[in-house]
């Protein structure tokens, strides 16, 4: 499969905004056409070629190399194709994504995949705050798609999410699944505090015990069958080491909540 390669040759001095790195935008563009795409370097209008060396051809896959931790909005609005990154990426990766796949072999900044409705984002190392979450003021977060973080994620994973799947291989920060409307969040490591605050529906699963808010009600310890399906899929997607057989066959404590809201959400904590 053909791919366009971007290699960072000049590190940005201030944040660089590159929503043009998107297979649909690259389609039918020549190399120089790609180099001439507009990017914002702070308040300075520049071209992609000012920062990246462009080689290769074809738009269905974009491969990027370099320390992109100061580069924002990669894959914004992406609906098809694939972006793979060797290195760290900055904020707003895959914002508004509706299809395709982004793989980052490195760390990601805050706001991975906000407003996502489809597609998949995979981060091989750690990610920042607000993964798959709503922007401020919005009452609805992501409405579909999958986000897989292999390392740790920070606060507010999946805030206000309505549909979709978020998996964190390591630990999650505070307020995981806050104000969640529906959907599934699986944290293979530890949860922070105040998990599921204000959640209406949806499931939050963790392989570790966690402190629960006073408005969550312990209901039972049981073996949730549906987790088998999720876990076997996750094992096939790079989370094999973290998910042991006992997690698949074992029991989980079920808390229902948030009592302040509809009380139709659940938090499942592995109980052995």
């Amino acid at each position: 499969m053909s791919a366009t390669h971007l290699k960072l040759h000049t590190a940005p001095e201030v944040p660089l905004e590159t929503e043009v790195i998107n297979p649909t935008v690259f389609a039918n563009l020549s190399q120089s056409g790609i180099e001439n795409l507009n990017v914002m370097h702070g308040n300075d209008k520049c071209h992609l070629g000012d920062f990246f060396k462009v080689t290769g051809k074809g738009a269905s896959e974009i491969h990027i190399e370099g320390d992109l931790s100061g580069v924002k909005l990669i894959g914004a609005g992406m609906s098809e194709g694939k972006i793979s990154v060797e290195g760290d990426v900055g904020m707003h990766l895959g914002v508004g994504m509706s299809g395709g796949e982004i793989i980052v072999n490195g760390n990601a900044g805050d706001w991975v995949g906000p407003e996502m409705s489809g597609g998949r984002i995979i981060i091989k190392k750690n990610a920042g705050h607000m993964i798959g979450s709503a922007y401020r003021g919005q009452s609805t977060g992501i409405t579909g798609g999958e986000i897989f973080i292999h390392g740790n994620a920070k606060n507010e994973v999946g805030s206000a999410m309505r549909r979709g799947l978020i998996v964190v291989g390591g630990n999650a920060g505070d307020f995981t699944g806050v104000n969640m409307l529906a959907g599934t969040i699986i944290v293979l490591g530890e949860l922070g505090i105040r998990t599921g605050a204000g959640m209406k529906r949806g499931s939050i699963v963790s392989l570790q015990d966690a402190p629960m808010l006073p408005s969550f009600d312990y209901s039972c310890t049981y073996h949730p069958l549906f987790l088998r399906l999720y876990f076997s899929r996750l094992r096939a997607n790079g989370f094999k080491r973290k998910i042991q057989d006992q997690h698949i066959t074992g029991k989980y404590k079920r808390y229902s909540g948030d009592g302040i809201e509809l009380n139709r959400g659940e938090v499942l904590l592995f109980a052995g």
């Binding site: 944040p15 702070g42 003021g137 505090i193 808010l213 006073p214 408005s215 302040i260």
Partner: protein, 467 residues
């Protein structure tokens, strides 16, 4: 001046003729400023009576001022430091303006911060400068009640002006704040002791509750003191919300939070059955783990309580005009703080465009700091970055920030030397009555000069338009 204002001034004079007894200020050129406004804290008390020594350029007496207000009025006197420093060397006003303008237009990610000790008139000019150069703008709100502003965007707010609290509130709750030391007249002028329309006996007609992690000088004012384990405010607020809604809560609530079920039930009972309740809250909520969710829990609790009675909530805002900064930035950009114009239109994202972040991450390549001192109270990483980039500072006194500034303007003090408008913590706009003239320009004057120079430099091909 309007007809009736003149009239009222005349009446006041007629009622209270100048005393002819012993004059402690004999021989001095004395001016009395009535109904002046103290702009030190967010209380913005507008009932000051200032005795001003016109020749000496200082305030000798500030009647009705609290201990903070007196320090504010007495300590802002005439200064001898140079008006403008560039790289620590004295320079002319024009040279300062030129240097500042150059810094701003050369930068790719210029940011500005502060503005809470500044008039709305100055704040409007500041936003205009950043709009002109496609910069980034943030105010001290982001490290004050910024999280409350974010909570507000999520859940809204039931609120009231302070006069309504004075007239009606029979249950007054302070959460995570210490007004006795930070806003000394909050109790006496607005919320606890004053008599109001339906509170004829003042404090006797109110129940005062204080919630904090420690006893403070504010504690004695309270009828009920509820001590919460540090970092457990959210859990307590969440438990209260559940109880107000008649839902059950965990049995180990006392172990979790340090507050017993009995105390919670009693408070819920009082909140649901009062006539007009108010929850004031401070930075004990916004600056601790949970931040905006802590404020949001409190705002939601107040909203929930409206199912049973009338209930309002209000952040106790810090600096004199931090509320004005929120208002000005909001009406000009649509967002209250943390606004970025890089693309020729405002964007908002706390954590991305807020000052702590753009400095700590090393993103801003120039900064204009107006009437605040981030170099002394920001996280270390932010301060380190400030030392690497050109800083323009405008301040009434030397600070750590002004000492590292490339271009430093000494400016006069709002409310003491300059007029204008400020907004009290409850969004009520209040006018200023300056006491004496300073030898330094007001920040508005400096900012307007910078704006005009920036516009001039950018006219023509350098103009920054939307991208």
């Amino acid at each position: 001046m309007t007809k009736e204002a003149t009239q009222t001034d005349a009446q006041v004079k007629n009622k209270k003729p100048v005393s002819k007894k012993v004059d402690p200020y004999e021989g001095k050129n004395i001016k009395i400023v009535k109904d002046a406004t103290c702009t030190f804290c967010g209380c913005v008390c507008d009932d000051m009576e200032l005795t001003v020594d016109v020749d000496e350029h200082r305030i000798l007496k500030a009647k009705k001022a609290c201990v903070l207000g007196r320090a504010w009025f007495y300590e802002h006197k005439v200064d001898t430091r140079p008006g403008v420093l560039i790289d620590g060397k004295e320079a002319t006003f024009q040279e300062g303006v030129e240097a500042a303008a150059q810094i701003l237009i050369d930068a790719k990610f210029p940011t500005t911060y502060g503005m809470s000790d500044s008039t709305c008139e100055s704040q409007r000019v500041t936003v205009e400068i950043m709009d002109t150069i496609n910069g980034n703008i943030d105010t001290t709100t982001s490290v004050c009640h910024g999280p409350s502003g974010m909570a507000f965007q999520g859940v809204g707010e039931s609120t009231a002006t302070l006069g309504e609290v004075k007239n009606r509130a029979d249950l007054v709750i302070y959460w995570g704040g210490n007004p006795a030391e930070s806003h000394p007249r909050h109790f006496t002028r607005y919320a606890v002791t004053p008599k109001g329309m339906y509170i004829p006996n003042g404090k006797k007609d109110r129940t005062v509750v204080l919630v904090d992690v420690r006893r403070t000088p504010s504690t004695p004012v309270a009828d009920i003191f509820m001590q919460v384990k540090p970092g457990k405010d959210f859990e307590v607020l969440w438990a209260l919300r559940a109880l107000v809604k008649g839902k059950k809560i965990a049995n180990d609530i006392e172990k979790q939070t340090g507050v017993s079920r009995e105390v919670l039930d009693d408070l819920v009972d009082r909140m649901k059955n009062c006539q007009f309740g108010v929850l004031f809250f401070g930075m004990g909520l916004t600056m601790t783990r949970g931040r905006h969710f802590n404020s949001g829990a409190l705002l939601s609790l107040a909203a929930d309580l409206n199912e049973f009675t009338h209930f309002v909530a209000k952040p106790v805002r810090g600096h004199g005009n931090v509320t004005g900064a929120d208002n000005v930035v909001s009406w000009q950009t649509g967002y209250p703080f943390g606004v970025n114009f890089n693309r020729g239109y405002p964007r908002f994202n706390p954590g991305e465009f807020t000052t702590t972040d753009v400095l700590s991450r090393g993103e801003a390549d120039a900064a204009m700091i107006i009437a605040s001192d981030p170099a002394s109270n920001f996280p270390k990483a932010a301060i380190e970055h400030m030392k690497k980039i050109p800083i323009i500072s405008l301040d009434t006194k030397d600070t750590v920030t002004s000492s590292i500034a490339k271009v430093r303007f000494a400016v006069s003090t709002y409310g003491i030397n300059t007029g204008g408008t400020v907004y009290r913590m409850d969004d009520v706009p209040i006018t200023l009555r300056p006491a004496f003239e300073s030898t330094y320009p007001g920040d508005q004057e400096v900012l307007e000069a910078i704006r005009d120079r920036v516009k001039k430099l950018l006219s023509g091909k350098k103009a920054r338009v939307a991208a």
